[in-house]
Symmetry: C2
Subunit: 376 residues, 2 copies
């Protein structure tokens, strides 16, 4: 597992870090992966993890090692990246974009490709453009109200059934939802309420289609409900993604413990302003993103700041946080004790608000033992 | 200028656009560059544009064509990218990061490199690590309160003067500020008030240092004040950056007209929800960023949406805006007339809130005639 130096007590290797860098604790990532894989097995559902969070072939390999064979991505570009690494059962969990029909055909000729539709009309256009078979999942809006078919819109679901019955290349595989409204939860009870309500919506949608398509699959997946729920009645597969790293948002929601957060952004301190209780780090909106959670004073917080130590980083307590970001600057509001210890030239760790966006911005990972892991 | 096809009336070339794409109107960009260059000349100040916005060698060339020879960047990585393209007078307008001393030495041996310090102690560390000469600017906090020396903190300014007098490789070039509080303005009067207050602060700081360093330069620069002000008393150079493209934020501040916005994100429509007045576009937080301006109802707006036309894109009116973004999805709240016309598979244009962040995320430009322009 490449952690020999950690076990030997040599500690985290930070040599050569001069710019904002994603530090990944491979042990924590592998534990997050194993825990979710075991839960899926225990609950009798397929584990089709969302790879949009890490977007890395090497981290994908860690999923292979616990038996994962089917994955989710959020763009055709990502699907190609992973197909080129041997993944051959990929769901693109984004409404099918017919402007990329050439890439769809390329992928469909090589792998088992699962696409998503929100509108029955799209099925006909897709069928007309395809040169190889694909499976199709109808996106159902289980309460998030981003996109998808209302589960109680029986006429639209029936039009889907009709359109799909007429297709030769598009096979009707199932219904899919993303209960993204779980991100508004701030307690286990609220997450579980979203979970139950979402599964109930999926059951209603499936009922409409069951007479013509008795074997339709039900696919759900968002990190909060998949992290918290222990029962997935009526579900065939789960597709969580952010659990691989977790982050401050997931902690706030109640989906993880801070000790499970497996990735931080390591940033150099470049200025100190003790008079106003702040330090400035090289780490801004182009590294952390502008995503925010609400701080105790109601103002946005763009990450929690903590110290690096021999084992990686200390569990943050929230006493130091990123209170503002411009393009390259981050402003850290620090408690007096930490402020005193943060000197210009030091490195600090930032637990990001939203791991998917921070990982996308910084673009490569470094393990605790100093190995670089690339991503798309 | 590569716009022959436009003049010929053939119109914007959108063929092959399948994913979120930055569309740049070269004519508008060149007009924005010329206007700022002419203003600098008229006002008797050096024009040292900030290249962090476009980060493109080709667009840098358009600046060369109006006589620009000195530039600003916000990281040493960016400095190297432009130094490798022949730029030989570069200011890194970010507190000097001593963790990158090897890159500093590499650049200092090749070009005229100007660095920034916030703390007198940093000057000594920098001097100790240097193998080639650099110029140094002291960062002054003229009211933004991100970082910099208080202009009325005479002891610190005098310590800078002493430290710099003892240096062999670090030459004291001047004082620099970024009046980023201009971004809170929402009227010309407020922008001009920030401008006057900022220049006054710089004059006070310069006074402290003038007896020992009579030739110190004064460098200022933020797009709102540089766009609006017509007089820069006591200033030697201006460093605006975002004016090259402008954006919705700059329009809201009062720094530009919407007709001057020179870059949009072109995004495919992937779903429609007429019942709630919304369409879904392929264009989310990993394309537009999560930056926002406040909408009329107090809720965040992540961009204004408009139609593409033969000349590029129509000037938006605000009747259609991006009301939410997740990783790849954007939700557009649309007026009934535009909603009716936006069909799945169409392309729409999004005027971004913050051009620097959107350009950083999408990562390459396409001109109206379909040419691709790369960036760092």
């Amino acid at each position: 597992m490449g952690r020999g130096t950690m076990k030997g007590g040599v500690g985290v290797k930070l040599e050569g870090i001069g710019v904002p860098t994603l530090l990944v604790d491979e042990g924590k990532v592998r534990r997050n992966i194993s825990a979710m894989a075991e839960k899926a097995e225990r609950c009798g559902v397929r584990f089709r993890p969302h790879f949009k969070t890490h977007q890395s072939r090497e981290i994908g390999q860690w999923f292979r090692e616990v038996g994962v064979r089917a994955i989710t991505v959020s763009s055709l570009t990502m699907a190609r990246y992973f197909a080129d690494d041997g993944w051959d059962d990929i769901t693109v969990a984004f409404p099918v974009n017919l402007r990329e029909v050439d890439l769809i055909n390329d992928l469909a000729s090589r792998i088992h490709l699962n696409l998503l539709a929100v509108h029955p009309e799209t099925v006909r256009s897709l069928e007309a453009g395809l040169r190889a078979p694909v499976d199709l999942l109808v996106k159902v809006d289980s309460g998030y109200h981003r996109t998808g078919v209302d589960p109680d819109d029986t006429p639209t679901l029936e039009r889907f059934a009709e359109e799909l019955a007429a297709c030769r290349r598009v096979r009707f595989r199932g219904i899919l939802t993303h209960a993204g409204h779980s991100y508004k939860a701030r307690s286990l009870d609220r997450i579980l309420a979203v979970h139950r309500q979402s599964l109930d919506a999926m059951a209603r949608a499936k009922d409409v289609l069951a007479s013509r398509y008795p074997d339709l699959e039900v696919s759900v997946g968002d990190t909060p409900t998949c992290s918290v729920a222990d029962d997935f009645p009526g579900v065939d597969e789960i597709r969580p993604g952010a659990f691989v790293f977790y982050d401050l948002m997931q902690f706030r929601i109640g989906a993880c413990r801070l000790e499970e957060v497996a990735m931080v952004a390591v940033c150099p301190v470049v200025a100190r302003h003790p008079d106003r209780g702040e330090v400035v780090i090289y780490g801004g909106a182009v590294h952390l993103s502008k995503d925010a959670v609400e701080g105790p004073d109601g103002r946005p917080v763009h990450g929690w700041v903590t110290e690096l130590d021999e084992a990686g980083w200390k569990t943050p307590t929230g006493c130091c946080s990123v209170s503002a970001v411009s393009q390259e600057h981050g402003i850290v509001r620090a408690c007096p004790e930490h402020l005193e210890r943060m000197r210009v030239g030091d490195l600090v760790a930032v637990v990001p608000v939203h791991c998917c966006l921070t990982a996308n911005l910084i673009g490569a990972y470094r393990t605790l033992d100093g190995r670089v892991i690339s991503r798309l």
